[in-house]
C-alpha cells in the first residue's frame, strides 16, 4: 500500500465504522422512525392547529432531531474523509482528536440548523395536499432544477476546500470549528435537494436513502468545474465502471511501445 493510501485509511476506516453504525441504527429503528412519518403523515391532510399540536406532542422534537442527525451521519460521513484528513494532517498530534471533534461539532450543528428549512419545506408540501403524482412531479422538478444549477456546482466545488488552519492555541480550535461550519454549509447546499428523495419515498425509505447516499459520493468524485446551467451526472463513476468491466472483458494491455 502506498504511504498516501495508508494515510487515507487512517481516516476512512473510523469514518466507515461510524457510518456503518449509523446505517445499522437506522435500519434497526426503521419501523419506529418518526421523521419520515412526520413529514409524510396524513395528519396534514386537514390543516388545523389542534392537529398540529397533536402531531408535535406525538412526535417529540428531540427524537425527530435525533433521527435527523442519525440520517446526516449515515449519509454524510462517507464524504468527509478529505476534510477530516486535512484537519488531522494540519493539527499538532496532541490536538488531533480535539480538532476533529470540533470540526464534527461545527459540521453537525450547521446540518442541524439546515434541518429546519428542509423539514418546513416538507411540511409545506404536505399542506398543499397534492396527489402523489403531483408531489413527485413537484419535488422531482425542484431536485432537477437545483442539480443542474450553477449554484449547486459552486457548492459542490467548495466541498473540496482545504484552507490553511491555525495549529496553536484558541486559534486552532476556532479554525477547526469554523472549517466544520463552512464545510457543512457547502455540503448542505450540495445535498439538500437530493435529500428530499428519501423523504418522499414512503416505502423503501432506507433503500432510497442508500441510493441517494451513493449518488452524493459519486458526485464528489468528479473534478470541480465552472458553475453553469447544464445537465450533469457523475461521469467519473460511469467511466470507472466501464474501465473495470472492460479490463474484465479483455486481456490486460501490457504490450511495449510500438516502434
Amino acid at each position: 500500500m502506498t504511504p498516501a493510501a495508508y494515510e487515507r485509511l487512517q481516516i476512512r476506516i473510523p469514518l466507515a465504522i461510524a457510518a456503518a453504525g449509523a446505517w445499522v441504527a437506522m435500519a434497526a429503528m426503521s419501523h419506529e422512525r418518526k421523521l419520515v412519518a412526520f413529514c409524510s403523515s396524513d395528519v396534514w391532510t386537514a390543516l388545523s392547529l389542534d392537529r398540529f399540536a397533536l402531531a408535535i406532542t406525538f412526535y417529540s422534537p428531540a427524537s425527530l432531531a435525533g433521527e435527523w442527525m442519525l440520517m446526516v451521519a449515515a449519509m454524510m460521513m462517507p464524504t468527509l474523509a478529505g476534510a477530516m484528513g486535512h484537519v488531522r494532517a494540519r493539527s499538532l498530534p496532541h490536538r488531533r482528536k480535539r480538532s476533529l471533534a470540533l470540526f464534527i461539532i461545527g459540521y453537525g450543528a450547521t446540518w442541524g440548523a439546515c434541518s429546519i428549512p428542509i423539514v418546513f419545506a416538507m411540511l409545506a408540501l404536505q399542506l398543499l395536499q397534492l396527489s402523489p403524482v403531483a408531489t413527485i412531479a413537484l419535488v422531482g422538478s425542484l431536485i432537477l432544477i437545483w442539480q443542474f444549477s450553477p449554484a449547486k456546482q459552486a457548492c459542490l466545488n467548495r466541498c473540496h476546500d482545504q484552507p490553511p488552519l491555525a495549529a496553536h492555541g484558541i486559534a486552532a480550535d476556532l479554525a477547526a470549528l469554523g472549517y466544520g461550519v463552512t464545510q457543512a454549509i457547502w455540503c448542505c447546499g450540495t445535498c439538500w435537494a437530493l435529500m428530499l428523495v428519501p423523504f418522499t419515498a414512503q416505502d423503501g425509505h432506507l433503500l432510497a436513502m442508500a441510493a441517494t447516499s451513493a449518488y452524493l459520493i459519486a458526485e464528489r468524485l468528479d473534478q470541480p468545474r465552472r458553475p453553469a446551467w447544464e445537465i450533469r451526472w457523475p461521469s467519473t463513476v460511469a467511466r470507472l465502471l466501464w474501465f473495470r468491466l472492460s479490463v474484465w472483458r479483455r486481456p490486460e494491455n501490457t504490450g511495449r511501445v510500438a516502434a
Binding site: 504511504p3 493510501a5 494515510e7 496553536h168 494491455n253 511501445v257 510500438a258
Partner: protein
C-alpha cells in the same frame, strides 16, 4: 537503438539534429491548430488558455479550436501534482519525438533523429542552447522557429537573457529512495503522491517540485504589459497552459525524463510503484486515460506500466549521470545492494506537525520573512530522536518545512527558501538555505477551473540537516524558527503572492 543526446554536445550550436528540429518545428507551426499533428495541437494537449494564446498570437480570435471530441480526448491532459507526472510526460515525449522524426523524414532528414535533452546541471551548460536564443537561422535569415519572443529568463532587467541560475535548482530529489510518499506534510516521494480518487494538482512530487518547476519559471520569466493586465504575464515556459508552445519545453522534459531513469539506475531501492492503480494509470480511477496522436493522427493509448519498462520504450540517453559528471557515482542497477540498511518504507510512518505559523504571509518585492512557533513538546520529541542513533530497521527522523496554500498570479516566481535560527544571549544567528520553490501552475491553483478561489499549491522542503545541526544547541532560540523567502526576480505586488501557512513537520517512527 535511438539515443537522446546532450544538446550542448551535438558538435556546434546548429549541429544537424538541432537544424532538423528547427525545420520540423517550422513545418508543424504552419499547420492548422485543430490538426492533430500541428505544433499548437501538441501544446494544447499539455494545457490551454484562450487569453494568453490569443494575446501572444498563437491563436487568432476567429480560429477554430479542435472539435469537441478531439478537445476532450487529447487536450489539457498534463498530469501535475500526482504520481502520474513522470509516466504521462514520458509518453507525451515519445509521441512528440515520433511526430518530429516523421516530419524530419518527410523533409528528407535522417530517420534516426532523436530529441536532445538540456542538462542545465552540467558545468557550463546552464545557459539556453544558442540555437534557441537567436531569432535567426544560421544563415542569418530571421524566422528561426526555435526562437520564442515570450521567453524572458530569470532576470526581468535583462529580458531574453535565458539561463538557469544554479543557486535556485538542485538534485536533492535524487537522494529520495521512494517513488511515492505522503500527502500530509512529509516527503512526497521522487515521483509524487498517490492521489487515489481525490483530485490532484496541488502537491507536486520531489522531482517535479525541484528542479522541474523552477526551470519552467526561470526560463520563461514574466513581463509587465500594463495595457493588457495589471499583473505580470508569464513567458510561455512559465505556465502549464502555454509551456508546450516553446520548443525548449521538450528538451527540458527530456532531461526530467532522463533523471527518472538516472534515479532508477542509481540505487537498488529506487523502483517504480507496483500498485496496479499506478500501472494502469488514472483510468483505473475513472479518470482520463493517457492518449496522444501518432504521426498518422491515430490515437495511441499508453499506461504508466508501459512507460516504466524502460527497455521497451524504444530510446535511451547518452548519459545517465544526473549532473553530467563522469559516471563514477552511478552504480549499475544490477550492482549488489550497498552496505546501508534498507530503509523502512514510509507507509505507516508518523507524520506530525511540530509547529505552524498563525497568519498568511504576503510575498512581494524581494521576498518576505516570518517565524514559525514550534511546540515545545514536539521539539523535544524530535531532538530526542535525533540525538540517538537510528536502530536497525527503524525509520530515520526527518523534518520538513511546509509552505501550504501558496496562492497568487505569478507562475514564473521562484523563491529561495532559508531557515533561520535566532541566536540567544548574544550568540550569533544562523541561516541555512533549504532549497527553493517554483510557482509553476500557481495561477490555475489559485483561480481554479471551477471559477472560485482555489487552495493554491503546497510545497515540502527537507530541513532535516539544519534542524539536526541546531536541535541540541543552547545558543539558538528553538521556540521559533525563522523562514525567509528570497525572490530570484522581484515579485510584483499585483501578483498577490501569499503563503497561507508555514509549518514544520516531522516524519519518522
Amino acid at each position: 537503438m535511438l539515443v537522446r543526446k546532450n544538446v550542448w554536445e551535438l558538435g556546434g550550436d546548429w549541429a544537424d539534429p538541432i537544424l532538423w528540429y528547427a525545420r520540423a518545428v517550422g513545418a508543424l507551426k504552419s499547420k492548422p491548430l485543430a490538426d492533430r499533428t500541428s505544433w499548437r495541437f501538441w501544446a494544447g494537449m499539455h494545457g490551454y488558455d484562450q487569453g494568453l494564446w490569443e494575446f501572444y498570437g498563437y491563436k487568432a480570435a476567429h480560429e477554430k479550436l479542435p472539435a469537441k471530441a478531439d478537445f476532450d480526448e487529447f487536450w489539457q491532459q498534463c498530469q501535475h501534482g500526482s504520481w502520474y507526472f513522470l509516466p504521462w510526460h514520458r509518453g507525451y515525449l515519445i509521441g512528440f519525438e515520433k511526430l518530429i522524426r516523421a516530419t524530419v523524414v518527410s523533409l528528407k532528414g535522417p530517420a534516426d533523429w532523436t530529441l536532445p535533452y538540456w542538462n542545465y546541471f552540467k558545468t557550463g551548460q546552464n545557459g539556453l542552447p544558442p540555437a534557441f536564443g537567436s531569432p535567426d537561422w544560421p544563415d542569418g535569415k530571421g524566422n528561426n522557429p526555435l526562437f520564442v519572443e515570450q521567453r524572458w529568463g530569470p532576470d526581468p532587467s535583462k529580458p531574453g537573457k535565458v539561463f538557469v541560475p544554479l543557486k535556485a535548482v538542485n538534485l536533492d530529489a535524487m537522494g529520495v529512495h521512494e517513488f511515492t510518499g505522503v500527502a500530509s506534510g512529509g516527503d512526497r516521494g521522487f515521483g509524487g503522491i498517490d492521489t487515489g480518487f481525490e483530485h490532484s494538482g496541488t502537491k507536486h512530487g520531489d522531482i517535479e517540485s525541484q528542479p522541474h518547476d523552477q526551470v519552467h519559471g526561470l526560463v520563461g520569466g514574466e513581463k509587465m504589459f500594463p495595457k493588457a493586465s495589471p499583473r505580470p504575464l508569464p513567458g510561455l515556459m512559465s505556465t502549464p497552459v502555454t509551456a508546450g508552445l516553446d520548443p525548449i519545453f521538450w528538451l527540458h522534459h527530456a532531461n526530467i525524463d532522463r533523471l527518472w531513469q538516472s534515479w532508477r539506475l542509481s540505487d537498488h531501492r529506487n523502483t517504480d510503484p507496483e500498485e496496479s492503480s499506478w500501472k494502469k494509470g488514472p483510468a483505473s480511477h475513472g479518470k482520463h486515460q493517457f492518449v496522444v496522436p501518432l504521426p498518422d493522427g491515430s490515437p495511441w493509448v499508453y499506461t504508466p506500466q508501459q512507460m516504466s519498462d524502460f527497455a521497451g520504450v524504444g530510446y535511451t540517453y547518452s548519459d545517465f549521470s544526473p549532473a553530467g559528471a563522469r559516471p563514477a557515482a552511478v552504480a549499475s542497477a544490477a550492482a549488489a545492494p550497498s552496505g546501508a540498511a534498507t530503509m523502512t518504507k514510509s507507509t505507516g510512518a508518523a507524520v506530525e506537525v511540530v509547529g505552524a505559523s498563525a497568519k498568511a504571509l504576503a510575498v512581494a518585492g524581494s521576498g518576505a520573512q516570518t517565524s514559525v512557533p514550534v511546540d515545545a513538546r514536539m521539539h523535544a520529541k524530535v531532538a530526542g530522536k535525533m540525538a540517538t542513533a537510528v536502530a536497525p530497521g527503524a525509520r530515520e527522523e526527518r523534518v520538513f518545512l511546509n509552505l501550504e496554500n501558496v496562492r497568487g498570479y505569478s507562475d514564473a516566481t521562484v523563491l529561495q527558501v532559508y531557515v533561520h535560527f535566532a541566536g540567544k544571549d548574544g550568540a550569533p544567528s544562523a541561516e541555512r538555505q533549504v532549497g527553493s520553490i517554483g510557482l509553476f501552475g500557481i495561477t490555475k491553483a489559485t483561480e481554479t477551473d471551477a471559477g472560485h478561489k482555489g487552495d493554491g499549491l503546497s510545497y515540502v522542503l527537507n530541513i532535516t540537516k539544519p534542524y539536526q545541526e541546531f536541535a541540541g544547541s543552547a545558543n539558538v532560540d528553538l521556540a521559533n524558527i525563522g523562514v525567509r523567502l528570497e525572490a530570484v526576480a522581484p515579485v510584483q505586488q499585483s501578483a498577490e503572492v501569499s503563503v497561507g501557512r508555514i509549518s514544520v513537520v516531522r516524519q519518522g517512527d
